[in-house]
């Protein structure tokens, strides 16, 4: 077990290093934005005095790397500064939104991941049959359509014609869980349709890839029924690529949902980011980017660890 923990800690350390590099990139990318931030924030009516005052207030007169370390030091303790537009603390502005985004992502993941893996197993089992083809064509269709289009189609059929679900997902804190699930149903369904194909096809491919292995033939020659060959003999050896694709898709559910949030007016972090970029509210932009980066790195780390844990050679060393 010692080797394994060391491996996990090594990966964690690497992940932290990556976040640090990304933080540098984010900070200086915002620095590189053309034009003076103070001018942009104050707009056309700004006088020279107000701009100078603003610059001083923001600390723009000091060197960039000093400000970077101040920002990084704050970020480590959860303090991302103050929003330039609302004057609110950035952490307060983000936290509610981020919780909403996490809620939607988990809602979609809990439904999409089991469905995709099950579909993947079934399409591998009934490969090259009508079922396989239909499942492939359907999921490919949903992944090839733009999310906003899918969203509007779902609104048209399930909100406007059938009026089963609300077209706008406005959430508030005093709603019960059932109410929340009902409100967020359409954005969830859109996301599920978008991510299913990728995970399902990887599951199918990873399993089929193993079907030529000698141990699969051995299982067949032991009289093992086909479903058991897939589930018991192929799937346990196919986890590594499946886990990686699942992790990438989970990351996408958190960081790539801007369009879906806009369509359903869902109060998530994606919308906040878009607003902040439009208004040059750079502390918010930086914080959002850092959170997205951390999400990606964390999920990929989890996938690495998962892949290691499912490898019997690493789990049970000689």
């Amino acid at each position: 077990m010692g080797d394994l923990t060391r491996l996990v800690f090594k990966r964690l350390g690497l992940g932290l290093g990556t976040i640090l590099v990304v933080s540098v990139l984010i900070f200086f990318a915002v620095e590189l934005l053309p034009g003076d931030i103070a001018e942009a924030v104050l707009g056309q009516g700004a006088t020279e005095e107000t701009v100078t005052a603003m610059r001083e207030q923001l600390g723009l007169d000091r060197p960039a790397f000093v400000r970077y370390f101040e920002w990084l030091g704050g970020a480590v303790t959860g303090d991302f500064g103050v929003s330039l537009v609302s004057g609110e603390r950035v952490s307060d502005a983000i936290s509610d939104r981020f919780v909403n985004t996490l809620f939607l992502a988990s809602y979609a993941a809990v439904i999409a991941v089991p469905i995709s893996i099950l579909l993947g197993v079934f399409t591998a089992l009934y490969r090259n049959t009508i079922f396989d083809r239909v499942a492939n064509v359907m999921t490919l269709t949903t992944i090839s359509s733009p999310e906003f289009f899918l969203g509007y189609v779902l609104i048209l059929f399930l909100a406007v014609r059938a009026t089963m679900f609300p077209a706008i997902s406005s959430l508030s804190g005093d709603m019960g869980l059932l109410e929340l699930l009902h409100r967020a149903f359409l954005p969830m369904l859109t996301l599920v349709l978008v991510v299913t194909a990728h995970m399902m096809r990887m599951t199918r491919a990873a399993i089929i890839n193993l079907l030529a292995s000698p141990y699969i033939e051995m299982a067949r020659l032991k009289g093992t029924p086909p479903w058991k060959v897939i589930v018991k003999h192929a799937l346990p050896n196919a986890w590594a690529p499946i886990i990686n694709v699942v992790a990438l898709n989970l990351a996408y559910l958190i960081t790539g949902v801007v369009l879906v949030e806009v369509v359903f007016v869902y109060p998530g972090i994606g919308q906040l980011l878009v607003d902040a970029v439009a208004k040059r509210d750079f502390p918010v932009v930086q914080a959002c980017c850092l959170i997205f980066a951390a999400t990606f790195i964390l999920l990929n780390l989890a996938a690495d660890v998962g892949a290691i844990l499912t490898n019997p050679r690493l789990r049970h060393p000689k």
Binding site: M218, K222, N237, H316
Partner: protein, 553 residues
């Protein structure tokens, strides 16, 4: 038919079996009408070269057609049940319970994700023959009978935690789990070292005897089949050549093809001796220690010399450090200590630090010509690149050189110049590998198990070619092999390695005459001979508990 089985019931009767394989968009015949009759308790050996259809017939005996093949005609009757017309479910119900299978590579045929014993109990539990715990107890009993170490514990390990020879015995135990009437052994010892092979052979023969199981034993090794089979059937390109009881087949084969198989070990290159004029060795390995990153020492104080124009065979089991020594010589693995001398000059340890002329000296030919040649590169480029790199040839001079090299390896330049590796047969690919090594105009070539993936007749052709090239071009070979028959036919000197050390070395005639080092003795006495009594004699001499890994001195 063997007299012993005159009165026994027929267990398996295959009549006029035809099997087709799908390739290039059409169905081509693989098995062209083979008959086979097997009685209860009889062991039939199927022998032939690769492509003879041995394994395909073995699978067909289970009513199983591999992906991309189909049984197109004929009948397979197992104990009164016609398998070609039975439903898939009916056929599946036989597999594992009444007909079991033992595959060539146990390491690849055990599922890496499950414990050995769980794979063992899968079939008996599935068929409700035994409860899980009963099946586990039975497994341990079988492990004990097959003389696996720690029979009570070994099954609870994962396949990668167990050695190859032990896995192969565990797989035989697994085949026995439902006490089948018939077991198909598909080259069960081909991937093993001779010293390990002997214990697996003994275990298989023992257990087949004890339970009076019928078996089809598939192999390309005649000496092995002579130990195992009551009857031998020889196959060639999907057709039967002849069949006879083992002793009759060994003593008086009828067909020319069979005779040619029997005669294959006849090639012998006259032994050369070291120059006596005190000249320097071409390559001298001096006190080399080596290890892979972070690993334990795999080479420990290895020293030997290779003189110009001579063949030095390096023999030993897998893991004994043969190929690692080659990696040190070529500079792919810098040694921890010691050095490699070339004509009295020390070679830089890393290939990156060597001059072009030093690099030219150490060329390699690999075991798997399939993977050693890039499938997307034309033959002319594969051979042409080293000719260009070392010889600085261009344009028509380069083409002429490639033609010359193709002539040298007995392939027609007009035909092969612009073809790709996948279009070639195994033997032809190995010839291209040889031409690539020759293109650098080296004085020394490392041949790493160059014949072990080839059929005997093809391998013989390669050995003859290497021998001819040696005479014509004055090449020195370092010949890595675990096959002592090959050593006997082409080596001048022999170096025996074990656990990363050289245990014995000397001229071939001395090495093959007693007294030997105990390990050399073990290696030599483990090589199967054509005498059907060989295995019994060896087991008697050594005692049943003193074979294979246990016999390691």
């Amino acid at each position: 038919m063997h007299d012993k089985f005159k009165d026994a019931d027929v267990l398996l009767e295959i009549k006029d079996l035809k099997i087709e394989g799908y390739s290039d968009e059409t169905w081509v015949p693989i098995i062209k009408g083979v008959d086979l009759t097997l009685h209860r308790g009889e062991v039939m050996g199927l022998i032939g070269e690769s492509g003879a259809g041995k394994s395909t017939i073995g699978a067909a005996a289970m009513g199983y057609a591999r992906d991309g093949t189909r049984i197109s005609d004929g009948s397979i009757e197992f104990d009164g049940m016609e398998l070609t017309t039975a439903s898939e479910a009916e056929r599946r119900a036989l597999r594992g319970s009444r007909i079991a299978y033992v595959a060539q590579s146990a390491a690849a045929s055990f599922n890496p994700s499950h414990k050995i014993i769980d794979q063992h109990t899968e079939a008996p539990v599935h068929y409700r023959i035994k409860k899980r715990l009963e099946a586990q107890e039975d497994a341990m009993e079988l492990y004990e009978r097959l003389r696996l170490p720690n029979p009570g514990e070994i099954g609870f390990r994962y396949p990668h935690q167990v050695s190859g020879g032990q896995l192969q015995r565990a797989m035989t135990a697994m085949a026995m789990s439902c006490r089948p009437d018939l077991i198909i052994f598909d080259e069960p010892t081909t991937a093993l070292d001779v010293t390990t092979q002997i214990e697996v052979l003994a275990a298989i023969r023992d257990i087949v005897d004890q339970f009076d199981t019928a078996a089809i034993y598939i192999t390309h090794d005649l000496a092995v089949v002579a130990q195992m089979a009551d009857t031998i059937k020889v196959l060639l390109k999907g057709e039967e050549v002849e069949q006879a009881p083992t002793q009759v087949m060994l003593d008086s084969p009828q067909e020319d093809y069979t005779k040619s198989l029997w005669a294959v070990r006849s090639f012998n290159s006259p032994q050369r001796h070291r120059p006596t004029d005190g000249s320097q060795p071409l390559i001298s390995v001096q006190n080399v220690d080596a290890a892979y990153t972070g690993g334990v020492k795999v080479l420990d104080d290895v020293s030997f010399d290779i003189y110009p124009g001579m063949t030095v065979a390096v023999v030993g089991e897998s893991g004994s450090g043969k190929s690692t020594t080659a990696r040190c010589i070529t500079g792919l693995l810098p040694p921890m200590s010691g050095q490699i001398m070339c004509k009295g000059e020390p070679l830089p340890p890393r290939y990156k630090d060597r001059t072009r002329d030093q690099l030219r000296q150490a060329q390699m030919i690999y075991q798997m010509a399939d993977t050693a040649l890039n499938p997307k590169v034309r033959i002319s480029d594969i051979i042409g690149r080293p000719a260009q790199f070392y010889g600085g040839l261009h344009g028509s001079a380069l083409k002429q050189r490639v033609d010359e090299l193709l002539d040298l390896i007995e392939l027609d330049p007009a035909k092969f110049y612009s073809r790709y590796p996948p279009e070639l047969s195994g033997g032809q690919k190995q010839r291209i590998g040889i031409a690539r090594a020759l293109a650098a105009e080296p004085e020394f070539i490392i041949c790493d198990e160059v014949t072990s993936a080839l059929d005997q007749l093809v391998a013989e052709g390669i050995l003859k070619l290497l021998d001819r090239l040696q005479d014509e071009l004055g090449l020195a070979y370092m010949f890595i092999t675990h096959d002592l028959a090959t050593v006997r036919s082409i080596a001048d000197e022999v170096v025996v390695m074990q656990h990363g050390k050289v245990v014995e070395q000397g001229p071939k005639d001395e090495m093959f005459t007693p007294p030997h080092h105990p390990y050399t003795d073990l290696l030599l006495s483990s090589v199967p001979e054509m005498d059907p009594e060989w295995l019994s004699t060896v087991l008697e001499e050594r005692g049943v508990d003193n074979i294979g890994e246990a016999a390691d001195p």
